[in-house]
Point group: none
Chain length 429, copies 2
């Protein structure tokens, strides 16, 4: 496996409360070309710092990609830093300027004096044309490493990388047959909810023993734990398919999505397929469930309305939750959750009502009803045969307010997902 490193250049990435996002598509593109990114780093506009980072990376890696610092202003120092680190002086290169001129003319502009700086390229480097902007990139070999310099503007970096860099890297891979036959990356991601990170690790670790060539990544968040399986080695596709099958078998009840799919997309597809309409009654989640469901284009096909009832009066007026019930059990109770779900369904005359009521904190908790206590209700009518079916679930979440809201929304949507798998057809037929 060839090793890659990405260096993002720019003081704004160290100071400006701002992140380097280029490394995301660079990582994917490099993986396609059989290059595994082992380090990413961010340095400021100091020429010496950039040069030091480049020397270090070139020692460790086969491919080093720099982004940023190729612009026309005096704080764009990547050209000089590469020249300093590699001992290849800068020379003005005609083709570099041509590309820039074409671009500027296309926009009806003429190059400024400053922009001519962008024509300076290290001796022996290959110029990479910029099809989107004005700053050319370049690419050179130094001490056995391929060094690629791309602009920092994402659209420019993306275009240049895709058109000029990836093909070169892939040709090289093809050249060293050994490499292609030998190694490449395959990666699968499965999203789980309702199971602890440590428990997942315990259930999967025999599949990913040392030397298996499989890397297991577990990432816990308020939405659950994401399982990523990365395979470096031969016959990867087949091995990976089998591995994923085994992981699915072991975790089936907990896996709600794979790849880039989200819980709200999964639930939305289920509702659309079954032709069922939903109404939601939220209290402590404050609209988060509605927000998530409506992130999905076309969600109006299955979402009728959402009532965020922060006051008891709203619960009574909009959802028909009786004041007696609220007085007797309190707003945060299984009885009120059930009544909210039923009310949302009946008042909206839809198929399913989903409700959440709880204490998001940090204040408002008591010994009997601590912060993080959340009740979830689901109420659905059975079309064939009369009556309705009602489910309630009690949870105890931890963490800050945002985390409790996220966990509650995820658990409510997962309850709906599981119910649709088990009973969705009955509600439909």
């Amino acid at each position: 496996m060839r090793r890659g490193e990405i260096i993002a250049v720019g003081s704004e990435l160290l100071l400006g409360g701002r992140l380097d996002t280029n490394s995301l598509f660079l990582t994917d593109g490099l993986a396609e070309a059989g290059v595994e990114v082992r380090y990413k780093s961010v340095v400021g506009d100091e020429e010496a710092d950039i040069a030091a980072a480049l020397r270090m990376a070139a020692r460790r890696a086969d491919v080093v990609v720099l982004t940023g610092g190729l612009g026309p202003t005096t704080d764009d120092r990547t050209r000089q830093a590469v020249a300093r680190a590699t001992g290849r002086p800068l020379r003005r290169r005609a083709e570099a300027l041509d590309g820039m001129r074409r671009q500027l003319e296309a926009w009806g502009r003429t190059p400024t004096k400053a922009q001519f700086r962008q024509g300076l390229i290290p001796v022996g480097a290959e110029v990479l044309a910029n099809s989107v902007g004005s700053a050319p990139g370049f690419c050179l070999r130094w001490k056995g490493a391929v060094i690629v310099a791309l602009p920092g503007v994402p659209s420019e970096a993306r275009a240049m990388f895709a058109t000029a860099v990836v093909p070169r890297l892939q040709m090289e891979v093809a050249a060293h047959r050994r490499v292609t036959q030998h190694r490449c990356i395959d990666r699968r991601v499965l999203h789980t909810v309702g199971i602890l990170e440590a428990e997942l690790d315990h259930r999967l670790k025999d599949l990913v023993g040392r030397g298996s060539g499989i890397r297991l990544g577990l990432l816990a968040s308020p939405l659950g734990v994401t399982v990523s399986l990365t395979l470096c080695g031969a016959k990867t596709k087949v091995m990976m398919d089998e591995l994923v099958r085994r992981v699915r078998r072991r975790l089936s009840p907990y896996i709600y999505a794979e790849g880039f799919a989200t819980m709200e997309e999964v639930v939305g597809r289920q509702l659309a397929r079954l032709g069922l309409r939903l109404a939601v009654a939220e209290s402590c989640t404050g609209g988060l469930i509605g927000h998530r469901l409506t992130q999905v284009p076309g969600s109006s096909a299955y979402l009728d309305r959402v009532a965020v009832c922060y006051s008891n009066r709203a619960k009574t007026e909009w959802l028909g939750v009786s004041e007696r019930l609220l007085r007797k059990h309190g707003a945060v109770s299984a009885q009120v959750a059930a009544a909210m779900a039923r009310g949302a369904r009946v008042k909206s005359r839809v198929d399913i009502g989903l409700s959440v009521t709880g204490i998001a904190g940090p204040d408002g908790g008591t010994a009997q009803k601590p912060v993080g206590l959340v009740y979830i209700g689901l109420d659905a009518r059975r079309r064939r045969g009369r009556g309705s079916c009602s489910v309630t679930k009690v949870c105890r979440f931890h963490g800050p307010r945002e985390a409790i809201k996220l966990r509650a929304s995820q658990t409510a949507l997962n309850l709906l997902r599981q119910w649709l798998i088990a009973d969705g057809k009955a509600a439909r037929s």
Copy 2:
């Protein structure tokens, strides 16, 4: 100026299409403590890679902060890597386990065998308690550098850094007077909405000329443009105060918050101070406004309810919007926005109603009503003197669905903010 480096640990940050966001607040916190971040890097879960990154960083920097890899699973290798790099073997530390046990008991759980791994701390290191999660951090001195290891979960890293790390670093700064007198960083952030990045740049650039020692950072997002001013040098506090005064004067109508404050916090404080209660009627934003308002602890004091009315029937039943009006002007119209705001206020018997109706896309647009067309309504009763006041605003937003939802929610909350400044008192008195 002391030099800092941040190392984010986790293969998911190299492979998972995910970015390290901890470094954002870490950079700010380190700057407050007089530490300038010169390098940020991301490494995977390989013990050797983490150790190599740490050795390199400790050679260059005075303060090295690692985040991630402290969890209970076998792919959490930061503890071992620090032990390997510094030659400080791991020992199980009682206080580390105590903290974790307290946490787990609070959640009604008992530690798993795997979680006991989290009690392993390098010899001579100080344990940093985790007030939010279960993984303890630690901090040690090695070869003149302070090395801090924090969990990867942002809420845990943030809490631990703020409570345990920043104070230590600031005490050290106080200890080396020379350092503080000499150089330090001051950074101020102002959040604007309703003005373009280029226009901001044009209005501010004369304040931040070369040699001024001031770095201007502009970061545009769907929530607006954030202006960050960074000053390195002597007498920074005084210069910065004057600079911020001048920036405030030039941008006053557009600045809605400073520092870490959010729009929802600002609006919440206004409502609480004026003793006004709010009801919201959302259509295309789908609950996002309610979600944002309820991210603020104590929001139940001023938020009564939110109606997310995706269907026209919901608009009629819950908000009393007449079917005639909906037929005549369509759901996406100034008239319906006004009726929704009024309905939300009157039905909930609160002081102010805020409404949004529009087309979030990507589908559903027409020549007359394109994707991104959004109407915002505000309706408030005047307590002294009778009648009510009503404002509507039409906007045309661009971008993908999520961006349009965010822009619409931000513009609606900003309309409410501006109205509360101008007329809030009248509504109150």
